[in-house]
């Protein structure tokens, strides 16, 4: 491969290599973002938010997190955990706690709990 030919290939090789490296990196995480994982994991989740012992209604939960309160996530449970953490780190008027209940590929239910630090 001549120097000119190599230069023509270089941007494409770097672009594709970045994808492979990121896919390998995300394999070691619990999220799938810029990763080639189409419908790889089926996560059935439910998000509940609590304030002063009262559960937020469905509309309030969906407006806050931008997702259906109960639905399927087709990539990784970590995506929902990350979303809830991001919202609670940036948005105002927190609930006291947020509970994500989820089942990954029909496995027994797991729970993730976010708590306000106040």
């Amino acid at each position: 491969m001549t120097s000119l030919s190599f230069k023509k290939w270089l941007p494409g090789i770097l672009f594709l290599s970045a994808q492979v490296i990121n896919t390998l990196y995300e394999l070691m995480q619990d999220t799938r973002t810029i990763s080639w994982a189409p419908h790889t994991t089926q996560v059935f989740y439910r998000i509940d938010a609590f304030e002063n012992g009262v559960t937020w209604d469905q509309q309030a939960v969906e407006a806050r997190y931008g997702l259906a309160q109960t639905h399927w996530e087709a990539h990784a449970p970590g995506n929902i955990r990350r979303l809830v953490n991001s919202v609670e780190a940036q948005a105002s008027a927190h609930p006291d706690s947020v509970r994500i209940s989820y089942r990954r590929n029909g496995a027994p239910e797991q729970t993730y709990l976010w708590k306000a630090s106040r």
């Binding site: 594709l16 492979v20 896919t23 799938r32 810029i34 080639w36 931008g66 399927w72 029909g106």
Partner: protein, 341 residues
């Protein structure tokens, strides 16, 4: 000229761009209407208000589509569309979508292509897609036990025909075989894509992998299916000249196609043979590579997706592959020459 993109890629991204416009696909894929929503990269949260940011991405997307459709600056247009897709995904946590990411990557690979790389970046992009998807499955025990497929097809989509078929085997057996089958298929496709000479076999396996999922789940995964078709299509040999045979072809249709022959590919068709439906069909099949025919097929595909006609769509894809792609398996594949655009 040194940066010229091969005509196969110009055609592919233009068809894909038209499909995106017709189906209303947009970089954001949120189920809440789309737009910036808790970006994954902090910088993207600091660029103007949500309205300004969303308008900016939309303008980038539409102006880049305009550029690649109506100007010579196909690479710049493709770069803009690709960046709009990636920006959309990175600026919206609820918009994560492999379908839209892959669509963006087809545009970005085109932007990074030139007369030396030809269509090879698209070929390697497809290989990376299948390799990545396979790695995610290989290291997940649920794909080996069948739990993943069982959840997808039985619990989530509740597909009656699959549930009925699975009932004929021991519990979970069909899902396990399907899961392992997908792992084997995806790695096989990735390997076959590494050599230009075996691309047609990769295409055949891709049909076996994707079309049953489209039919079973009754979805095209947003723009993914069409992006795949255009990506694989760009790897085929497309004729530079379209010759008419007046014993076989309809002179009326050829005349119409000649009027739309902006690439000057057509040769004139003399003769006054009687028109018949069989001649029209023959002409349609022979001139499948004519841009007007490809545009018609893009519009037809968008309409079939819009109205949920996925069985006819599947038949069209299989027929096109059988008639056009499969006969090319024995050709020694040369790298495409650069386009004049």
């Amino acid at each position: 000229m040194g940066k010229a993109v091969v005509p196969e890629l110009v055609l592919a991204v233009r068809m894909l761009a038209i499909y995106l416009l017709l189906t209303g696909e947009f970089p954001f894929n949120g189920n809440q209407g789309g737009g910036r929503f808790y970006p994954l990269i902090e910088l993207l949260d600091q660029l103007g208000t949500d309205e300004q940011f969303n308008l900016g991405v939309r303008l980038l997307f539409l102006s880049s589509i305009g550029l690649l459709l109506f100007s010579r600056f196909v690479r710049i247009g493709a770069l803009g569309v690709g960046l709009a897709f990636v920006t959309g995904l990175l600026s919206c946590q609820i918009c994560i979508s492999v379908a839209h990411l892959f669509t963006g990557c087809v545009f970005l690979c085109t932007a990074l292509s030139n007369h030396v790389t030809g269509t090879s970046l698209i070929r390697f992009q497809l290989a990376v897609l299948y390799l990545g998807a396979d790695l995610n499955k290989v290291f997940d025990p649920d794909w080996w036990t069948g739990a993943s497929m069982e959840t997808l097809l039985v619990t989530k989509h509740q597909i009656p025909s699959y549930i009925k078929a699975a009932g004929m085997f021991p519990r979970g057996f069909l899902s396990q075989m399907m899961g392992i089958g997908v792992i084997v298929l995806q790695i096989s496709i990735a390997i076959l894509l590494l050599r230009r000479a075996t691309v047609i076999y990769a295409m055949l396996l891709a049909l076996v992998l994707h079309l049953p999922m489209v039919l079973l789940m009754h979805m095209t995964f947003g723009p993914f299916l069409f992006a795949l078709v255009t990506a694989y299509g760009s790897l085929l040999t497309w004729p530079q000249r379209l010759a008419c045979d007046n014993r076989l072809h309809s002179s009326v249709l050829v005349k119409w196609l000649t009027l739309l022959d902006f690439n000057r590919q057509m040769s004139p068709c003399a003769g006054n043979a009687k028109e018949s439906p069989i001649r029209w069909i023959r002409t349609g099949l022979h001139y499948m590579a004519h841009p007007a025919m490809l545009l018609s097929m893009t519009v037809l595909t968008a309409a079939m997706v819009r109205y949920g006609q996925l069985i006819p769509l599947t038949l069209v894809v299989v027929a096109a592959c059988w008639l056009y792609a499969w006969p090319q398996r024995k050709h020694a594949r040369r790298a495409p020459s650069p386009a004049g655009v």
